[in-house]
Every structure is written in C-alpha cells, then in structure tokens.
C-alpha cells in the first residue's frame, strides 16, 4: 500500500496525449527566468496540465504541482511518499530545463471508483 514513486507512470493510462513537457514549453517558451513572470508561469503550467488530464474523462482525482527554480548552481531535491491503492493510483514526475531555470512538474492521480 505504501511506496515511493520515482517517475513511474500513472496507473491505467498508456497511450495518453497528456504531455507535461508540451505544457511547460508552451508557457515558458524560450524565455529566461524572470521574478515577475514566474508566478504566472507556474499557475499556467499547472492549469494547463490539469485541464488536459481532466479532458481524458477518467474517474480520477488529480493533484498537479510545479516548481520553477532559477539556475544558480544550487541543488534541489524532491521526494514523494504516498498512502494509496497501488493497483489503481499512480504518479508521474517530469523534469525540464533551459539555460536559466529548472522546472519540475509532478502529477498524482487518485482513483475514485
């Protein structure tokens, strides 16, 4: 029932068109890290991901998180621990970067039926 997820795919879905990388690239594009824009970016990324997921019409509740960090040579670590039904629920974490920033998007899907 309990396990650590390290980038494993969401449970029942195999050929979904859901692509976090596309969402990130559409929002951030070729831009550089900007303190004034970053609020808007993170909000847009999570909203787009969530909309795409919901469109698939599956009986799941979704939690999407996004962290954007400026590249300064500092280290960043993330870990997830989940208490759920390992047969039905799952998560997916995607890392993306460009010249000036890192972006980590995590999606958790929890079954309702």
């Amino acid at each position: 029932m309990e396990e650590f997820h390290n980038g494993s795919e969401v449970s029942p879905d195999t050929n979904s068109p859901f692509s976090p990388v596309t969402c990130i690239e559409n929002v951030v594009g070729g831009g550089d890290y900007s303190q004034s824009q970053v609020n808007k970016w993170t909000a847009n990324i999570v909203e787009r991901c969530l909309t795409q997921l919901v469109k698939q019409g599956k009986p799941y509740k979704y939690i999407v998180t996004c962290a954007v960090m400026q590249k300064t040579g500092a280290g960043l670590h993330t870990a997830n621990s989940c208490y759920w039904d390992t047969a039905m629920d799952g998560s997916c974490t995607v890392r993306w970067e460009n010249r000036t920033m890192y972006c980590v998007v995590s999606v958790f899907a929890v079954a309702t039926a």
């Binding site: 997921l53 509740k61 939690i63 998180t65 962290a67 280290g75 997830n80 621990s81 998560s91």
Partner: protein, 120 residues
C-alpha cells in the same frame, strides 16, 4: 485499503482532513529533523525521502483513516536563487484538502505539502 461496511460518502466532523492539524504535524517533524542541518549533496536525497515517509506516517496516525495521502517534500540549497512552487487539484472540494509548510535556515529551504483525498 479495507472496505468499510458503512459506505460513508462524506466524512463526519471528526474524520475530516483538517489542514491546521496536519500543518502542525509537518511543522514538528521538519523543525525537529532540519534545525541546524547544513545542505550536504550526499545526504540530502536520503533525508528528503525519509522526511516524506515520516510526515506520511505521522499524518496517517493522526486519525485520517478514510483519506488517501500524497506527501511531497522539496529541499533545496539556499544560494539566493528564486524559486516558485504551485499546485492545482481536481477533486471534491467538500471532502479533500491540503496542508503545507515552509522551513528555511541559512543553508537550505524545505517545502512540505500534504494532500488528502477522501476514499468513498
């Protein structure tokens, strides 16, 4: 998870996910484990994982039996960089909720988010 015989579709007041209680759980564990700790790239991955596990166990034992939990821990080095974290959830707003806490010292910052989703 075991199936309940009574099929409650709404948690009663005692069982409801209370963000304030969970936030306090997070705060205690994080302050205890991270006070005075310096960022060390070899130890931090293990520390992040074990922190996630500890927070999950503590919240589970706080009486939210009917809830599925997702705990996310982010630890980063403090070097004056900018960081922003956001989340959005698609769930049942009557029953589900989340709690989060941020801890900072001179050499690292730590964000812990706990999401609780009711299991009908």
């Amino acid at each position: 998870m075991e199936e309940s015989d009574t099929y409650h579709i709404r948690p009663n007041h005692q069982q409801k996910f209370r963000p304030a209680v969970v936030k306090e759980c997070i705060r205690e564990i994080v302050r205890e484990r991270l006070s005075g700790v310096q960022y060390n790239p070899e130890e931090v991955p293990e520390l992040t994982r074990s922190l996630a596990d500890s927070v999950k166990d503590k919240v589970k034992n706080s009486g939210f039996d009917k809830y599925k939990l997702v705990v996310q821990v982010v630890i980063g080095e403090q070097r004056g960089q900018g960081v922003k974290m956001s989340s959005r959830c698609f769930w049942d707003a009557d029953t589900d909720s989340y709690a989060e806490d941020v801890f900072m010292n001179d050499s690292l910052f730590c964000v812990v988010a706990v999401f609780g989703s009711y299991y009908y």
